[in-house]
Symmetry: C2
Subunit: 141 residues, 2 copies
DNA sequence: CCGCTATACTTGCGATGTCAACTATCTTAG
DNA sequence: CTAAGATAGTTGACATCGCAAGTATAGCGG
């Protein structure tokens, strides 16, 4: 818990001062950037971002105000509202990611060897609730 | 981050439904129980519990309302207000700890061997901001 | 002994997040 | 086709927490 608090303060702080984004904001941007058609149902987002459905609604409100995300309808199910990453949103994400990956490298690279990183990652993975999509670090379309 | 979220939900949930306590509430109780004279300055608490000073004030408000903590004056410095664990608070702590340690064992014991626990602990320790008192598991006076 | 700075603590405000309740839509059994 | 229940999403009330500002006290240099 202490490691998490320390980590969060550092990464979230830099993200916020540099780009005005929360870690959760960034997480949503990531999920959308790598999703097919750059869109996702809000339910699916709430599962992968570890936020309650209402939390997702409110977080998306902010991203929509900034013009990074739009609402999209679903042809086959009128209940679902897609969160769609706009071009502007994708650009924002790419800009933020650049510095965020550097921040992460600064924190982890200086403290862990690649083998150690693999070890923590694997061990902590056992604590995960159940099925959670793994992170993806490739370039989005 | 995902491991932390998962962990927090489980432990905090059980703690709250079983005893009406937050993880931070419990953390404060722990710190006080093991402190000399069962009392601590609020500044020191805020450092070891990873909460801002204002957070500590508000958290303690709750514990004082329940009668588990009292305010204490400092003879040599009129600025400081001690948080003092009452007898009732110590009893509460002991009761809560009993089930909390079981919860922890349930989460970690089933997923990690003792060696693995030592490994994660040591690796995650490197992420800590700086000087943070280590946890203590012995019986308080 | 007088200011000046630092420290301990509290409080107002805003941000974030959860839960419970509600609406709307889909699905399925009869 | 309809009623019942599941699912997607939003909203209002509420809790928690941090920041900035304010108060009070301490300590120190002149």
């Amino acid at each position: 818990m202490r490691a998490h608090a320390s980590l969060t303060r550092q990464l979230s702080g830099r993200l916020e001062t540099a780009h005005g984004l929360t870690l959760n904001d960034y997480d949503v941007l990531v999920q959308l950037a790598y999703a097919p058609d750059r869109q996702l149902r809000r339910v699916d987002l709430s599962r992968s971002v570890l936020l309650s459905p209402s939390g997702i609604t409110r977080l998306l409100d902010g991203l929509e105000r900034e013009g990074w995300v739009e609402k999209g309808q679903c042809a086959s199910d009128a209940r679902v509202t897609y969160a769609v990453l706009t071009d502007s949103g994708l650009a924002k994400f790419k800009a933020v990611r650049k510095t965020h990956l550097v921040d992460i490298e600064a924190v982890f690279g200086s403290r862990f060897s690649p083998e150690e990183l693999a070890t923590v990652s694997s061990l902590l993975g056992r604590l995960l609730d159940s099925e959670e999509p793994a992170a993806c670090l490739e370039e989005p379309a």
